[in-house]
Amino acid sequence: MTNAPRRPIATALMRHAAGVMPSPEWGAAMQNELEAIEDDRVALNWAIGCVIAGYKERLNAMLQTRYFRSALAFLIVLLALREFFAPLLIFAYRMKYLGLAHFLGLRTAGDDYRRLIPIMDATPSWVILLWAAAGVLYLVALWQMLRRTGASYMLFFLGCVLDLAGVLAIRSIEASTGVTTEPIPMVRLAGFLLTFSVAFVLWRMTSRRMPAVN
């Protein structure tokens, strides 16, 4: 690229960056700095960096809104309930609370808990504990998020790992029994993507926290 188009591109990018930046003052600060950079190549790099900075700040501002935090909290509660679902169904089946098992079975693929009996019989207690622990960790992470403390994403991520370990364990049981808990693999994949996306968002929210002055 010759020098000629670099400056107009940098100027256009910079205008965009200033518009994206949540604070107009900071947008203007970045934009005016461009005028002081003589070298067009450096100016272009500067402008590209400012676009990135603008989107970072825009994203961080969005993550701190009450609506976004409420939606995220709701999502985490749903994910926690999902983790408690299988332990509760297995508990209901094993303790002969068949009414509850039937009720929960209506929420499974196939609408009948009896389809899952071979898996529920074969599932070891430690897998059930893994899921329950993942659910508890999600709820504790939610509590930490609401209190705006830094540990939320670590707890949530640990919950994701436990969840994943539980699913991997159940896969071998599914293979041995010939019964699948989730007939559509994409649904399971989408669930994991959603869970890890929440972990990422929690991490971003935490990394934006302000340093403390003691």
Binding site: S23, W26, A28, A29, M30, Q31, N32, E33, E35, A36, I37, N45, W46, I48, G49, C50, V51, I52, A53, K56, E57, N60, R148, T149, G150, T206, S207, R208, R209, M210, P211, A212, V213, N214
Partner: protein, 102 residues
């Protein structure tokens, strides 16, 4: 204000540069050259430190007429105390501030 500090290597690098001459006002572009940080990294840190009261920013008329005013930054007294507290222990570790230009 009692929350635990999360400070990155890049923030340390910026604070270390500003600590060398704490009373000097610096432009964003100057800070980029002195710290070696890209603008995409530098500005979010500047915003964060200003929000927290560790840096102060003000507009200065450009030296060349016809150019727009520029933002300049320097440590506040709280920022100076904070930087001394954070950076001095880090300096004892070799390579902790590697990349910060003199």
């Amino acid at each position: 204000m009692g929350r635990k500090l999360i400070h990155s290597r890049q923030t340390d690098r910026l604070l270390a540069v500003m600590l060398k001459e704490p009373l000097v006002w610096r432009h964003g572009y100057t800070l980029m050259k002195q710290t070696g940080l890209q603008s995409g990294t530098l500005y979010p840190i500047l915003v964060r430190l200003c929000d927290q009261g560790l840096l102060e920013a003000e507009w200065r008329e450009a030296e060349n007429s016809g150019k727009p005013p520029r933002h300049v930054y320097r440590l506040t007294s709280a920022g100076l105390a904070f930087a001394r507290e954070q950076i001095v222990p880090v300096r004892r570790k070799p390579d902790a501030l590697q990349g910060a230009k003199a």
